[in-house]
Amino acid sequence: MKFLRYLARNPVSLFGVVILLAFVLIAVFAPVLAPPQSFQLSPYDTPRAGFLATPQPPSSEAVFGTTQGQYDIYYGVVWGTRTAFKIGLGVVAISVLIGTVIGAVAAYYRGVVEEVLMRIVDVFMAVPFLIAAMVLTALLGKGIVPITIALTTFGWMSYARIVRSEILRIREMDYIHAARSYGASDLRLIVLHILPNAMFPVLVLATMATGSMVLSASALSFLGVGTEEGYADWGQFIAYSRNWIVGQPGNPFQFWYTLAFPGAAVFLFVLSWNLVGDALRDMLDPRHAH
């Protein structure tokens, strides 16, 4: 209810929620919007209309046109929505889990354990994220599972930091002292009383990170270590456009459609998560309220 009232007052945030819902609908109804053909082994293998090297402009058969090698851009964009949700939500969910456990353990045990865990966080923070993820994906092979593992391995640290500092802040609050004086065990205190209150900043961070993890995943595909050839993945399709985007002499915008549709999809997806994250932060953090 509070959320709806906030949206009514903030048209920009409302816009973000609407795009996000639209993407959810596209992902859910992908089989209806772009039905896979019977011979496809997996619906994520984008069908090809021949093997011509040059991209073909939008037509009645391929409404968004085709890439080099004749992958159907419309199909790739529609099913790429599912890929984006899988990677974004998958990476963030696992990262939040790992980060929460490590942050909670550090804040609970303090002392040496905390020192060691936080130094490990520091080390992972000192790794160049994209390059590290590239190496790990290159080692693990192509596909969305290796991408998810790689992005998670180098993306959990900020949750650990936030959870730790939130727990350290909350554990000194009066209601915790009260609960402890009633005889609540430490584990009960952490899981039932502290963590739920520490989760709001995590939720905001996770929402914003979902968009940026999809950005990183498409960047991996763009740099050539992401998904398999022809996989319905926006980054892959943008990578296809790279060789064509400069067009031909005298006709620079000849292949505009190879970038425009997958590019717009990534952009709008990330934008919607950022807008929703922004709205959540505004609502949950009284300091940002107007």
Binding site: I131, L223, G263
Partner: protein
């Protein structure tokens, strides 16, 4: 303060040690033959066929237990031997050294406008909270923040290269490259713009700028968003302080209060994240350099990572860790100069 700085510096070896362990662990997942490349001082060593490769695996002890291998490997690194990069076809240290000036040039040229824009836009947004300049700036930053670098970069390439033909990709045009490689042109720093000025060659300077423009615009736009947001928040906090109200109450002009009294103090949080941002940019120009075919560390790192060229990846990792720690240290040391209150703590 000095104590704190020293503690920070002592972190560096720990971070580097853990980083080397991590990369070494990744490397150990490859077969001995693949790893042989890391020890071969030049590609000639690898040309001897199966028999010689087996001999060399013996010779370099690539089947030894991992701790022995690690010790040997780290020993080599400590003596300055970072290994051979298959991708660059030269020693890793040589490759890193020769590409560093190019990336530094690009990052510095993008960082300065980024910082100025962030200060300008962020303080404007804070002053005009919830009025139209604030709305415009918010939309501008949230768009920039959501724009994938590669999509924005490709758009720049489409507009400024193929449509307008203003800013070509690469680092220099063919003719300029010929001049720069000739013996008359002294390479003082390796950064094209600086060298051109030192050699008094304005044509080269112009050509280098033409090639830098598109990547600089791209980097600026995608990085200015987060810094503007910090500046806006900080400006809002500062404008609420009592001393700002006092300044207004004693009749100082609005602009003087906003720009001289409030904005100065609002710069402090920006300094912290600007240092981090600069460090991240030094390691994060991977995509930008790849799109614009700009031969720098980022493009090199992307190529080596895709090729699993481990000596080069480790070299880049060490470089990045050092940049990060040094930038943090610089920010910590500059902070008391910006804010005298920090010293007393």
């Amino acid at each position: 303060m000095l104590n704190y700085a020293l503690r920070r510096l002592m972190m560096l070896p720990i971070v580097l040690f853990a980083l080397s362990l991590m990369i070494f662990a990744l490397q150990m997942s490859l077969s001995p033959t693949q790893r042989l490349a890391a020890y071969a001082p030049s590609p000639d060593y690898l040309k001897g066929g199966q028999e010689s490769i087996r001999r060399m695996i013996e010779q370099y002890g690539l089947n030894d237990p991992f701790y022995i291998q690690y010790g040997r490997w780290i020993g080599g690194i400590l003596t300055g031997n970072l290994g051979w990069s298959e991708t660059a076809r030269q020693p890793v240290s040589t490759a890193l050294m020769s590409l560093f000036p190019a990336t530094l040039e690009l990052v510095v040229l993008a960082f300065v406008p980024c910082l100025l824009l962030a200060v300008f836009l962020g303080s404007r947004a804070g002053i005009y909270l919830n009025r139209w300049p604030d709305h415009v700036i918010r939309i501008f930053t949230i768009l920039g923040w959501s724009f994938p670098v590669y999509v924005f970069g490709l758009l720049m390439l489409l507009i400024f290269y193929s449509a307008l033909d203003w800013f070509p990709p690469g680092r220099l045009s063919q003719w300029a490259q010929t001049v720069v490689s000739s013996s008359d042109f002294v390479r003082y720093t390796g950064a094209n713009t600086v060298d051109a000025l030192l050699n008094g060659n304005l044509a080269i300077f112009g050509d280098a700028l033409r090639h830098l423009a598109a990547p600089v615009i791209t980097l600026t736009y995608v990085n200015v968003a987060s810094m503007t947001r910090v500046m806006r928040t900080s400006m809002l906090e500062t404008l609420r302080q009592d001393y700002v109200r006092t300044a207004r109450a004693k009749g100082l002009p609005r602009r003087v209060v906003e720009l001289r009294h409030a904005r100065r103090n609002a710069l402090l949080p920006l300094a912290t994240i600007a240092g981090m941002e600069l460090a991240v940019m030094m390691g994060g120009v991977v995509i930008t350099e790849t799109i614009f075919d700009y031969a720098g560390l980022g493009q090199f790192a992307a190529k080596t990572a895709a090729n699993l060229d481990f000596p080069a990846v480790l070299g880049f990792g060490l470089y990045f860790a050092v940049v990060l720690v040094v930038m943090n240290l610089v920010v910590d040391l500059i902070y008391p100069l910006l804010d005298p209150r920090v010293k007393t703590q």
